[in-house]
Structure formats: C-alpha cells, structure tokens
Symmetry: C2
Subunit: 164 residues, 2 copies
DNA sequence: TATTGTTATACTCTATAACTATA
DNA sequence: TATAGTTATAGAGTATAACAATA
C-alpha cells in the first residue's frame, strides 16, 4: 500500500504539474525570487527596491510613470518604493524642467554604489542556484523567456507578489 | 531629446531587466497566470482552485498535507481552497481508515468533469499566448524549468501570490 | 479637460499561532 | 509527545478612488 506521507502523483506516477508551464514558472520564480530577496535584504533592500534602484542607477533619468510601465509596477506601488529609496538617500526626485508635473528620478552616488554591490550579491545567488543548468542552457532559458516577456506579455498587467 | 513618455532604458538602449532571469520569470509567470486565471474563472474557479482540483482529479487520493507539499501550498491556504471545492460539490474529504487524523481528498464525478473542461480551456489559452514559440522551443522551456523546479527549488518555500 | 504623482482606504491574501482530534 | 487539520487573527501588499498640481 502507498505510504500516507507520499506526495500526490498522477496515473503515470509523475508529479501532477510536471508539464504545466504556468505552475513551473511560478514555482521557479518563487524559489529564485525569495533567494534573491534574501540576498538583496543583506543590503537593506527588498528585491523590488533592488529592481527599482538598479533601473534608476543604470538607466537614463525618467519619469515615475515610465519607470513603472517598464518594470510592470503600479504607480502607487512605485511611490512607496521611491519614498523608501529617497528616505535612505539612494535616490533623488527632482521636478522635470520641461513638465513640472513629472518628477525625474536619479540615483545618488551612494545609490549607485549600493546598486552595484547588491547586484553582485544577487547575481552570485543566482549562479549558485543555477548550477543545475549548463551556461548555454541558462542563456537559452533567458532567450526563450525574453521572447515571451517582450512579445505577448509586453503589456500584461502589473506583477503582483513581492518578488518583483 | 528623448521623449518624456519613453520607458527607462539602460546605456545600451536595452530594457534594464532584459537579461534578468528573476524579472523575466516573474513577468512571464504573471502574464500567463492572469490569462489562465481568467480562463479558469469562466468555469467558476481561480487558477489555484483549478490547480488543486486537477491534482485531486488526476491523482491518487492523498492527504491534504501531501497535496500541499506537492503543490507548494501552505496547509492553511489549502484548507480554504478545499472548503470552496467541497462546498461546490467538486471534491469530498473523508477520514482515512488507516489514520483518522488525516482526511483523504477525492474528486466527485462533477469535479472530474469540471477539471477536464477547465483544463481544455486553460491549455487553449496557453497555446494562444505561446504562439511566439515554436513547439520544440515550448518543450525546451518546460524541460529547462523542470530541471530547476525539481532540482534546486524542490523544497523551496510555498508559492505566494494568487496565480498558483 | 487630461495627466503626473500622492494620499487614504478598503480589500485580498498569506502565514502564525492556538486549538481539536487522533496517534 | 507529535502529527493532521481547522480556525482566528494580524500583517503585508495591492489596487481603487479621490485629490493636488500642472499642462
């Protein structure tokens, strides 16, 4: 008889969602996301803070709306993140000269420094978790996901859940 | 000069997270998840309800704890889902003969029917969204994600967020 | 009148802890 | 004493709507 502690299996003896793309995506995203969140928190940032800070630090100064659209974040969510980052002296918001409704976000020097240090740590965490994949498999995975992220999902609803 | 409505771009003119695996995963997972959630709701189920129902319908009867472990769901989350499913007459919980603490979940006939119909609709939605990928690319993506999901992430924390 | 960004609020979701019952 | 499952609850996170300032 089957042990009562064994996990659910379908008639093929396989994990019931072994071939379900949505389940696999969420499972891997949750695993990687929480690991990277932990790495980012060692620098005093959540993954979302980290994502926003890195975008600001590496990109050209932009309005908050453009920032949110690009990251797939709601503007009210972004306000809270920027309040934290600005309060920590990592980012400054200044009114745009051309349109004083918009506020342009720029990273301070310490913001850029922190973004760099955190990025190193986060990417190290990623490498540790992805030893199961060969380098070319890793690249392939990124390529495939990019086709989807910038194709059918380019205008998808904002991402919910705290890991991005 | 750059338009004020353009999205944030890094110095290479590329989307700042174009190569960030975590961001790509969350973005694609959110897009696919919300599309499939919509499909499942046409059958009166959220995606999570759908995932649980399908696992019960297709698998061998198991305890709730095993079910939750397999799906990556907390037991308290699972209780709420099962309450809904049982209230709708799709699932029955009966005490296990061998250990009366555990309750075994089984799908009713109408539960299996609904799971089948919803599965067709959900997979149709997936196909529509994945036209950007060739069939072998789709299979490749699943294979790569499986290696991660059942490897380094097999014992990861429960999935948060409502799309699984 | 439309848009950027902020604030306040209500809602959803989740896990923690405490509890019951069985073992 | 430990485990399966339930309940209650508090906390986090999110989006909706109303608002101020500017266009």
């Amino acid at each position: 008889m089957a042990t009562s502690t064994s996990a659910a299996r379908n008639s093929s003896g396989e994990h019931p969602f072994a071939t379900d793309l949505n389940w696999l995506l969420h499972r891997v995203a949750a695993g990687l996301g929480s690991a990277q969140d932990e790495a980012a928190r060692r620098h005093g940032l959540g993954v979302r803070d980290y994502a926003v800070l890195r975008t600001i630090a590496e990109g050209t100064p932009t309005s908050q709306l453009a920032l949110g659209k690009d990251l797939g974040l709601d503007k009210t969510t972004l306000t809270a993140v920027l309040d934290r980052l600005e309060g920590a002296g990592l980012v400054v918001r200044r009114p745009a000269a051309s349109d004083r409704r918009t506020r342009v976000c720029e990273a301070t020097e310490s913001g850029r420094d922190l973004a760099d240090r955190a990025a190193k740590d986060v990417s190290l965490t990623e490498q540790e978790l992805l030893v199961a994949l060969k380098p070319e498999e890793h690249r392939l995975l990124v390529t495939l996901l990019r086709e989807l992220a910038f194709g059918p999902f380019a205008d998808a609803a904002p991402v919910s859940g705290s890991c991005i």
